[in-house]
């Protein structure tokens, strides 16, 4: 056995001993001595302890099984935890047993019932869009980013201060962006469109990569791969149900709204078809208008650099750069002078390291930064 293996073995034995009921004061002292005798011991112990603590989460699977009987791991593949589609439960955040879970043997049956239930739910959603099915909610704090894989193979990356609700049904994959910004890598599934709702706008995709940002009224969409369609949420409520029933029932008619009907919904540029965006498009939608800007793909990738924790600026007014930083930080930067606000800046910064940004501003420009409470005020020097 190699050295690290021996250390790990010893660490494991300490951990077991510590978990046992008759752990005493002098045992703790002996453990401390062992830990302090070498960093290798400490590191091995910390690592195993972190992993071992995680195994308590397995309790989530216990629900329904008798104490002392170990369920076959194969029974779990039907566990409601593993597919958002079958459940309206919140993501599990601790080891608490699932409420109302049933014995393993009955789970297959439960799975089918749930699947049927979601199908019905899907239909209801189609007709009355307002009732969002209670799917899992994910959110990030200011300065946080989080990547969330979904059961259909898609992946969502949440930017700072973002909240989304996910509802995957048999007929569609619906994401509601309550606030913030998220980047979507959509797994191809022509039968289940991927729909992101942001306020009054919806962005529809089949298999592509794009981000949607919501700020007040404005919805900003950046497409880095494939195409998406941006449309009015009000116009599409009808279109949505057409789509839903289009597959099965013949009386559903064409999956698109006739021109007249879309006018009736009150939309103008966004009515009916909406605007199709291809890779390299950056669209800003506000009210009924959409402004589309075509950008070279590398620039689009830079717009999405927040996924790696960076902000990249090319010759943008300082006011714009500061607004970006303020999205990621609780302490806000304020500009006190219009001349300062219009200074052009470029560079690559870590989004949460605004101190470095401010320091560079002070060094590079005639700018003074003053901290008052939660604010950093920039003014001319």
């Amino acid at each position: 056995m190699d050295k690290s293996s021996q250390t790990e073995e010893q660490a494991a034995r300490w951990l077991l001993k510590k978990d046992a009921p008759n752990w005493s004061e002098s045992d703790q002292q002996a453990l401390n001595e062992w830990l302090e005798s070498s960093t290798a011991n400490t590191v091995a112990f910390v690592r195993l302890e972190a992993a071992w603590q995680q195994t308590r989460r397995l309790k989530a699977f216990r629900a329904g099984t008798a104490k002392g009987s170990v369920p076959s791991p194969d029974d779990w593949q039907f566990s409601p935890f593993f597919d958002e589609r079958q459940t309206g439960m919140e993501p599990v955040t601790d080891g608490a047993p699932a409420p109302g879970a049933t014995p393993a043997r009955q789970r297959v049956g439960l799975y089918r019932t749930l699947a049927a239930a979601t199908l019905v739910l899907g239909l209801i959603v189609g007709t009355t869009w307002y009732f969002w099915p209670a799917g899992p909610t994910y959110q990030t704090p200011v300065g946080g980013t989080e990547s969330v894989p979904m059961s259909d193979g898609s992946n969502v990356t949440l930017n700072t201060n973002t909240k989304i609700q996910v509802a995957l049904t048999e007929t569609e994959r619906a994401i509601q962006l309550d606030r913030g910004e998220a980047f979507f890598e959509v797994a191809k599934d022509p039968h289940r469109p991927f729909i992101v709702s942001a306020g009054r706008k919806r962005v529809v995709a089949v298999g592509t990569k794009f981000s949607v940002e919501r700020e007040g009224d404005e919805v900003r969409v950046v497409v880095s791969e494939g195409t998406v369609r941006i449309e009015d949420a009000t116009a599409s409520r009808a279109a949505h149900s057409v789509h839903l029933f289009g597959a099965g029932a013949s009386k559903a008619g064409t999956p698109r709204l006739p021109e007249g009907e879309s006018q009736a919904t009150g939309g103008e540029s966004l009515a009916g078809e909406g605007v199709v965006l291809s890779a390299g498009s950056v669209a800003r939608a506000q009210g009924d208008s959409v402004l589309v800007q075509e950008k070279p793909l590398p620039e689009v990738e830079e717009d999405l650099s927040w996924r790696n924790g960076y902000l990249i600026f090319h010759d943008v007014p300082l006011a714009e750069a500061v607004a970006e930083f303020n999205r990621y930080n609780v302490r806000k930067i304020k500009i006190d002078d219009s001349a300062v606000a219009s200074i052009k800046v470029s560079g690559r910064f870590r989004s949460t390291n605004f101190e470095a940004f401010v320091r560079l501003l002070e060094d590079g420009f005639a700018i003074r930064a003053q901290t008052t409470g939660d604010q950093i005020v920039l003014s001319r020097r």
Partner: protein, 191 residues
């Protein structure tokens, strides 16, 4: 023990164990030595962090790995040529902090369940009874008709395998299979 340091270490360093082990396995000619290297790298990172936490933990981890490998290579006088070329690429790439490993509760549960599923059957049973049903080692031994000592062996093995599966690379890489083999023997004799 310094609790915040340990939590930091788990979150910022162990989270990259998969990438680290893959890197070591690719760079170092002798796979059996990967667990030792990993351990040594962790020790260096932990000791440095005790004084000052590095601003970019992932970069720091890989820089440490690179230094250790060149130190060792100088002594051993064997290192694959491929490894040398790899370093530059790595140098650029590691600075990116991807949110990939920041897992939420559901994903963590998934990962734990996956790790648990990979355990050998007997070991899995013992871990379940101890951790989920919270039986004492004695009770577990009685229930399964094995000695307390064997229960302990299974738990030790289970702990190490779960840690490798949780932190380590996703595919069956070197160090994990080493432990698996080692533990599949040795075990039943002690019954």
């Amino acid at each position: 023990m310094d609790e915040p340091l340990n939590a930091w270490f788990v979150r910022e360093v162990l989270a990259h164990e998969g990438a680290l082990v893959r890197y070591l396995a690719r760079t170092w000619p002798n796979r059996d030595e990967v667990p030792d290297l990993r351990q040594e790298i962790y020790v260096r990172v932990y000791e440095a962090a005790r004084k000052v936490r590095p601003t970019y933990p992932k970069s720091f981890l890989f820089t440490t790995a690179r230094h250790l490998i060149s130190d060792r290579a100088r002594h051993a006088r064997v290192v694959s040529i491929e490894a040398a070329g790899d370093l530059d690429v790595l140098n650029v790439l590691v600075d990116e902090v991807s949110p990939e490993r920041r897992l939420d509760g559901r994903q963590e549960l998934k990962r734990v369940a996956h790790a648990f599923r990979l355990l050998p059957p007997r070991c899995r049973e013992v871990v379940w009874l101890r951790r989920v049903d919270e039986m004492s080692q004695k009770e577990v031994a009685k229930r399964l008709g094995i000695s307390v000592k064997t229960v302990e062996c299974h738990l030790v093995k289970g702990m190490r395998l779960v840690a490798d599966a949780l932190f380590g690379p996703d595919e069956q890489a070197g160090p994990r299979s080493v432990i698996a083999n080692e533990s599949e023997h040795g075990q039943e004799q002690s019954d």
